[in-house]
Symmetry: C2
Subunit: 193 residues, 2 copies
DNA sequence: TGGTTTGTTCAGAAAAGTCTGAAAGATTAA
DNA sequence: TTAATCTTTCAGACTTTTCTGAACAAACCA
């Protein structure tokens, strides 16, 4: 399940086990439960640690090292986003910027640079946004996400509002239209499509 | 560059070539430029077509099939998001939901289901948000993304605003504080870290 | 000290994935 | 129809990645 994400199958299984288990496990138990060789587990855990996705713990009365995942799913998202950015996005942007610094030799090269520029700007915009909102409190973050496209209504509202600051009063405040209903923010239930 | 994304190296190169080229290319030219075998290119193009990332075109006066990418980067994002959702996210959610429907046999299983539920809700929230905003006009979408975490100020504003709808007038409209400055929305330049 | 437990490394076996050439299939033109 | 041009398929060669067992290292205990 979902092993196409830059991390291999076994590592994914180890992580999943730690995640659902909810308490720290020693390497030999992981090996036993998943029927992997002890060395395979050792390597898997090392990789997960390098991604900061599991952390090592010592339990009193047990000499073995135990491993566990962060308890909070949002913490996982944040770590994953950071690491992917550091490992994949930043190097890509860096290569793109290098290419964009070269003087184009002819019209073709200029056209190519234009395409590269568009891609660069796109990636940068998405990455920045993601970094930026990840810094918010989880509470605020979920609120924004739950709003979904409803956010646009807020934006419309904002565009209309400076009038308030400048003129005496807005033409009229149309509450049903520009101001989102409370229930836009409400939990939407979990039945999918 | 960036070949860890569920698509292999050669396919990535073919796509990159089509993207920067900016005009439709026939398979044999791709094979020549990249020094791949003709059959390799054929398979790569087939995969790209199955992702809807390239489309086939016939140019007048040329019997060969030509291939090109969508010109608009946002179009690429939308297609990629849709396909990944269809291929990876939806099946994952479906498995999770199945597991959540089972009656837990004991406290352990209940705890596991709780963890799965959290993961499910997280994925669903992120996916829904992404689907939702992707439907917006590109113009609006970029506006929101550029706002970044500044969005939270709009949210604060919103929380303060229902007063407007209910009461005659807000206590006072404090523009410098609750209303984001214009330059939050302005283009931020492209020099990264 | 030596014995035991736990953790790591690494060479090569095993598995998975990629690429190619040859052959067959399609389409067009005459 | 045949010839010419272009595309697809696929068995197997080749490459890369993953996994294991054995050997080593480090920590602990008696």
């Amino acid at each position: 399940m979902g092993s196409r994400w830059g991390i291999n199958r076994t590592v994914g299984q180890i992580y999943a086990l730690l995640y659902i288990s909810g308490h720290p496990l020693p390497a030999d138990e992981i090996a036993e439960v998943l029927s992997f060789s002890r060395s395979n587990v050792s390597m898997g855990l090392k990789e997960l640690q390098s991604w900061r996705l599991v952390r090592l713990q010592h339990l009193p009365g047990d000499r073995r090292e135990h491993f566990s995942t962060p308890g909070d799913v949002w913490q996982i998202v944040r770590i994953l986003a950071e690491e992917r950015r550091r490992r994949e996005i930043d190097p890509t942007l860096s290569v793109l910027r290098d290419l964009l610094l070269k003087k184009p030799g002819n019209a073709d090269e200029r056209a190519i640079q234009h395409r590269l520029q568009e891609m660069h700007d796109l990636i940068e915009l998405l990455t920045r946004w993601s970094e930026d909102v990840q810094r918010l409190e989880t509470q605020q973050l979920t609120q924004i996400l739950r709003l979904g496209a409803g956010i646009i209504r807020l934006l419309d509202l904002k565009n209309a509002l400076p009038l308030l600051g400048t003129k005496r009063r807005p033409a009229k405040s149309p509450p049903g239209d520009a101001i989102p209903d409370e229930d836009v923010l409400a939990d939407e239930g979990v039945d999918g499509d």
